[in-house]
Symmetry: C2
Subunit: 208 residues, 2 copies
C-alpha cells in the first residue's frame, strides 16, 4: 500500500464536502450494531418506524424522533436474514447510508459506534473520539493511483465547537472488514496514522 | 476464518433465490471497469444513457440496448471523481447494483468481468467460468456465526443449459477488495475452495 504523501492529502482536501450555510435540521445517525443503536435510541426516545422508507424486504431499521428543532433518524442495517447476526462491515453500511441519503435527504450524517483505539497513539478505554480523517487499511491495489483509491483517504467535517464543548479527542480512523488485524493491516493502519479502528466508517462523497 | 462446514452449506442453500417462472426480459449486467464494459457494449451495440436512472451527480454509467426480445442494461460504477480511476471493489459494485435493482427491476443480474484463476484448481488463461458459489476471503470476524457472515457464502443460480451450450467451466469464486494476496487471504481462498478470484462479485439476496 502506498504511503499517504502530499498529493493524496491534497486530493483528500479537494474531496472534502463544502459546509453549507443553511441550518441543519435533518440528521441521520448510522450505526452498525443493535447494541450500539439502543443507547442512542433510548437517550433521544426514538421510536422504530414500522413503515420505513426503504424497499420492502430489506432488514434495514429506522428509528426516528425529534430533539429540540432537529429531526433525528437512526439507521441500522439490521440482522442478516439467514444467519441472524448484525449486518456489520462496510458494504451494509454503504448500502443503508446510500438508501438513507436518497430517502431522507439528511443535512448531516453521523456514523457513530464503538471502535478500537491504539494506546500508543493516545487512546484509552472509554474515550470518545471525533474522527478527523478516515481511510481503508484492507483495500490493497498496488497499481499507481489505484493504490490511493484503495486507501480512500477522506477528511471528515471539522467541528471545532463540538470538540471544545464536549472535550472530545480528535483522531484519524482506519477501517476494514475484519475484526482481527494481520501484519499487512497493521502496516496500513500505521501508514494511515490511525488512532482509532473500526469496521464501517466510510464517508460517502456523493455530490447530490 | 471458520472452515465452511455442513451447516454453512445448508444455510447458503437456504439463502439461494428461487427461480421464477416468468420469462426473463430485463437483464442488468454489472461490470467494474470500463475495459471490461466496452467489449460487451460493442457486441450488443449498447448506447450510453445520457439521462441515467441514477441520482444526479453520481459517476455511475448505464449503457442500454436490446438483443432479440431482451432489454439489456450494462451498469458500470464509473470513475472515482477525485482520482479518475475505475471505482473497483465490492462497495462500489454493491451500491450500483442496489441502485440498478431499484431503478430497473431486473429479472436477471449478471456480474461479468475478468478474474484471476488458480492453475492448481484447473483454471487456464482465457478460460470462461460461470460461478457456482461465491464467498469473501477478506472479511475475518472470528466470533461464532459472525465468522460465517463474514465469509458470506452464496450459491449462484444454476444454469446447466448455459454451461452445456457454451461449454463453460464451472467453479467457485472468492472475492475481496485487494489485488494482491496475503497469507491470510490465501488460507481463506483455499477454505472457500475457490478456482476463481475477483474483487467485486457479490450476489445480493434482496427479497424484493
Amino acid at each position: 500500500m502506498a504511503a499517504l504523501g502530499d498529493q493524496s492529502e491534497e486530493q483528500a482536501m479537494a474531496a472534502q464536502p463544502k459546509p453549507q450555510n443553511r441550518p441543519i435540521s435533518n440528521i441521520v445517525i448510522v450505526v452498525a450494531m443493535q447494541t450500539e443503536a439502543l443507547p442512542i435510541v433510548n437517550r433521544f426516545q426514538l421510536t422504530e418506524d414500522p413503515d420505513t422508507p426503504f424497499p420492502q424486504g430489506v432488514p434495514w431499521v429506522r428509528y426516528q424522533g425529534t430533539y429540540k428543532d432537529l429531526n433525528i433518524s437512526l439507521i441500522w442495517p439490521g440482522k442478516d436474514p439467514t444467519l441472524g447476526v448484525d449486518s456489520v462491515g462496510t458494504i451494509s453500511s454503504a448500502l443503508v447510508t446510500y438508501a438513507a441519503i436518497q430517502a431522507l435527504q439528511p443535512d448531516l450524517i453521523i456514523n457513530a459506534g464503538t471502535a478500537g483505539g491504539f494506546k500508543a497513539k493516545g487512546a484509552s478505554i472509554g474515550d470518545v473520539f471525533i474522527v478527523s480523517d478516515c481511510a481503508f487499511h484492507d483495500r490493497r491495489i498496488p497499481i499507481p493511483v489505484f493504490d490511493l483509491y484503495g486507501v480512500g483517504l477522506r477528511k471528515a467535517f471539522v467541528a471545532p465547537n463540538l470538540v471544545k464543548e464536549l472535550n472530545l479527542k480528535v483522531g484519524k480512523l482506519s477501517t476494514g472488514d475484519s475484526l482481527d488485524m494481520t501484519q499487512q493491516d497493521e502496516s496500513s493502519i500505521i501508514a494511515n496514522d490511525a488512532t482509532v479502528k473500526d469496521m464501517e466508517l466510510l464517508l460517502m462523497f456523493l455530490t447530490f
